[in-house]
């Protein structure tokens, strides 16, 4: 990767993370370029950047995943660096390679490091070779060897795709009878989904915690760790609540885990920001996988360390050296608010923001791209907002988070805020009974409590009876009547004025001051 300065950064992403990256780039004095699909012409990240380029139709495969279009946008605008954010192209070695080949700085690890760690089998070997424990496993699709392995470690077992990720390409095997079939099916699925049919077997841990270590590495060989995050609370193998420090974790175990993360990063020749994920069970730590990008939950670390990880990424990409971080303070929690229906198995929702109230207060941070009038479509990931709180200790931050979620109010898009509020208020969370089975164990079903239902019904009666709100115009572009307005008032969806965009930006800007 070339050394030297960056003057203009293209952000190859959308949503809250695009805004987040633009903000840090601006703090470093960099000019910014947003890219957007036809579905995002009105999006906040487009308005926030100095320049913006349309890169394709709404489908991600033709826009945010279109390597040629993104590199062309960088060329056309004179951007000399690209930040991939998370998701989309962030962990595709071919993207990092194409960016470098175009003479543009890629804000992330080199393509070959990404490729080596992105392959789960290769990453396991690398970790084991560095003396880091991995979950007992076996690389094979051969039935006899698989049966011998099963006899040794016992069922259940997990069949995983070497090229898988984000919970895809995984298959649980409960007993001997299903093993051969699972191996064959997983290989078929992996071949179809990733073009790579290699699978491996792992012992299935019953109640593991998912804990990860934040890494930052420079181009001069220095690697530092910025503490851990417990990300055990997941649905569909995807995180929704993360916190730091990992509560109740033994200091010696934490130290071993941080040391293991540094070993893997050094062995891989890692550069820039990354995360080493571990499973923790019964006093043992096992390396799980590496995430070669900025994580969604990075603000949890920022709150405790008082740092700006995106700024650090940019500095490292410009050749700066990383320093040992200052000691972390207090505790932090992040809750991810998704456009999903927590009452119905987290099925995805879409809609338009008719009303939005964002929380504020001591130790409260909101990362969101939402603004009144914003549309949430089915084209992209449904992350609406990240609420991140800091407190002197876990109990203070837990109470702050519950209160912040209580202040969050969004009309027009079904979302998980109320569910998260109930999780924060639960005894199970208060007592930190964390494992990746937390939700199935303590929240197998959820619906609003009686008080909440009464409030909703009263609100419905008021809305129907015209007793709500003063007579106000519906937000521009809205197809809904709001407050006490008459039925079915449809206004045309025109392009919003820049002032509307600015107003939508304000709650977010206010937060930072």
């Amino acid at each position: 990767m070339k050394h030297g300065s960056i003057s203009k950064l293209l952000v190859a992403n959308r949503g809250e993370i695009a805004l987040r990256i633009i903000r840090s780039a601006r703090l470093l004095g960099l000019a910014t370029v947003a890219v957007y699909s036809e579905a995002d012409a009105d999006a906040t990240h487009v308005a926030a950047a100095d320049e913006a380029r349309l890169i394709g139709p709404p489908e991600a495969s033709q826009s945010y995943l279109n390597i040629a279009a993104i590199i062309e946008a960088a060329r056309a605008t004179g951007a000399d660096a690209i930040h991939p954010g998370y998701g989309f192209l962030s962990e595709r070695p071919e993207f990092a390679r194409a960016v470098a080949a175009a003479g543009i700085v890629f804000v992330g690890p080199p393509a070959e490091v990404m490729a080596a760690l992105g392959d789960k089998v290769a990453a396991r070997r690398l970790a084991a070779g560095a003396g880091v424990p991995v979950v007992p496993g076996l690389e094979t699709v051969e039935e006899r060897a698989a049966h011998e392995f099963a006899a040794r470690v016992g069922f259940p077992l997990m069949v995983k795709a070497a090229a898988g990720g984000g919970g895809r390409g995984m298959r649980l095997v409960e007993a001997q009878a299903g093993l051969a079939e699972a191996l064959a099916a997983a290989a078929r699925e992996a071949k179809a989904a990733f073009g790579d049919g290699r699978v491996f077997l792992e012992k299935y841990l019953a109640h593991p915690r998912h804990v990860e270590v934040q890494i930052l590495a420079d181009q001069h060989g220095a690697v530092v760790a910025l503490g851990e995050r417990d990300c055990s609370i997941q649905r569909r193998h995807q995180k929704i609540i993360e916190e730091s420090p990992a509560p109740g974790l033994d200091d010696a175990l934490r130290a071993r885990m941080v040391e293991a993360a540094l070993k893997v990063a050094r062995a891989a020749g890692y550069r820039n920001a990354g995360t080493m994920e571990f499973l923790v069970e019964g006093g043992e730590v096992y390396f799980l996988e590496a995430n070669t990008r900025l994580q969604v939950e990075h603000p949890v670390t920022e709150m405790r360390f008082g740092c700006d990880l995106v700024a650090e990424q940019l500095r490292v990409a410009m050749g700066a050296r990383v320093a040992e971080p200052a000691a972390p303070r207090g505790a932090a929690i992040e809750c991810r608010i998704y456009a999903e229906d927590a009452e119905h198995n987290f099925r995805p929702a879409t809609g338009e923001v008719h009303y939005l109230n964002l929380p504020a207060g001591p130790g409260v941070r909101v990362d969101t791209h939402l603004a009144p009038g914003a549309r949430v479509s089915a084209f992209y990931d449904g992350l609406l907002a990240k609420l991140v709180c800091w407190g002197a200790d876990r109990e203070q931050v837990r109470v702050r988070m519950a209160a912040a979620l209580g202040e969050f109010s969004l009309l027009g898009v079904t979302n998980t805020a109320a569910f998260l509020r109930d999780v924060m208020a639960s005894e199970a969370f208060r007592d930190a009974r964390l494992s990746t089975r937390f939700l199935e164990q303590f929240f197998p079903r959820w619906s609003p409590g009686e008080d909440a239902l009464e409030s909703l019904l009263a609100a419905a009666a008021m809305a129907a009876g015209g007793a709500l709100g003063s007579a106000r115009l519906a937000p521009p572009g809205s197809s809904w009547a709001r407050g006490a307005l008459s039925d079915g008032a449809r206004t045309g969806r025109g392009r919003r004025s820049p002032w509307t965009e600015l107003a939508g930006f304000e709650p977010w800007g206010r937060e930072e001051r």
Partner: protein, 186 residues
């Protein structure tokens, strides 16, 4: 009025009984209201906020409330909780025309896989109308009563949002004009 909450089998009976004028002379000052919820009377105070929401005091709780209406659908937020209600009475009115529901809307966002009927086609109760795909699962929507397909609003392959109009139906036999009255309360 009778309300059904999206995704909830129960029906609720709610009514705004009385609305007092603001206690102070200020027309935008707080108002006291009485609401009937499933036969139980509750008192509440409503203070309109400049951002279009209202601070509502109800049963000792203070909650920020916002609401919007479209046709027979009411969507509300009370603090972090939100819900979509459909006025069931509106449907009952349509039943005079022999229709359980005059339109078929998408119950979730997704892709239209197949349209199984054509405009002008008569359908019986239980006939499949349209197949949607969401989260890699196929969902078939059926006719809830005998009807004639009046209008098809989508095409196969199209992405639709939650609540998008898919098909409009008209009564099957005697053409009785369905009353186009949105629900009124209070």
């Amino acid at each position: 009025m009778k309300l059904k909450r999206q995704g909830d089998a129960r029906e609720f009976e709610v009514e705004l009984l009385a609305q007092n004028k603001p206690d102070t002379g200020d027309p935008s000052g707080p108002r006291r209201v009485r609401i009937m919820i499933d036969g139980r009377e509750v008192a509440a105070t409503i203070a309109a906020m400049p951002d279009g929401s209202a601070m509502v005091e109800l049963g000792g709780r203070r909650v920020r409330v916002a609401g919007a209406r479209r046709g027979s659908s009411i969507t509300v937020a009370a603090g972090p909780f939100a819900a979509e209600f459909v006025a069931v009475e509106g449907r009952a009115a349509h039943r005079t025309g022999g229709l359980a529901a005059p339109e078929v809307d998408a119950p979730m966002p997704g892709k239209v896989l197949k349209v199984l009927v054509a405009e002008g086609q008569p359908v019986e109760h239980g006939d499949p109308l349209i197949v949607l795909e969401a989260m890699k699962m196929e969902t078939t929507l059926y006719a809830e009563s005998p009807a004639i397909v009046a209008k098809i609003c989508v095409a196969a392959g199209q992405m639709v949002d939650h609540g998008a109009r898919l098909i409009e139906l008209s009564p099957a036999a005697v053409p009785a004009k369905p009353p186009e009255s949105p629900p009124q309360a209070g």
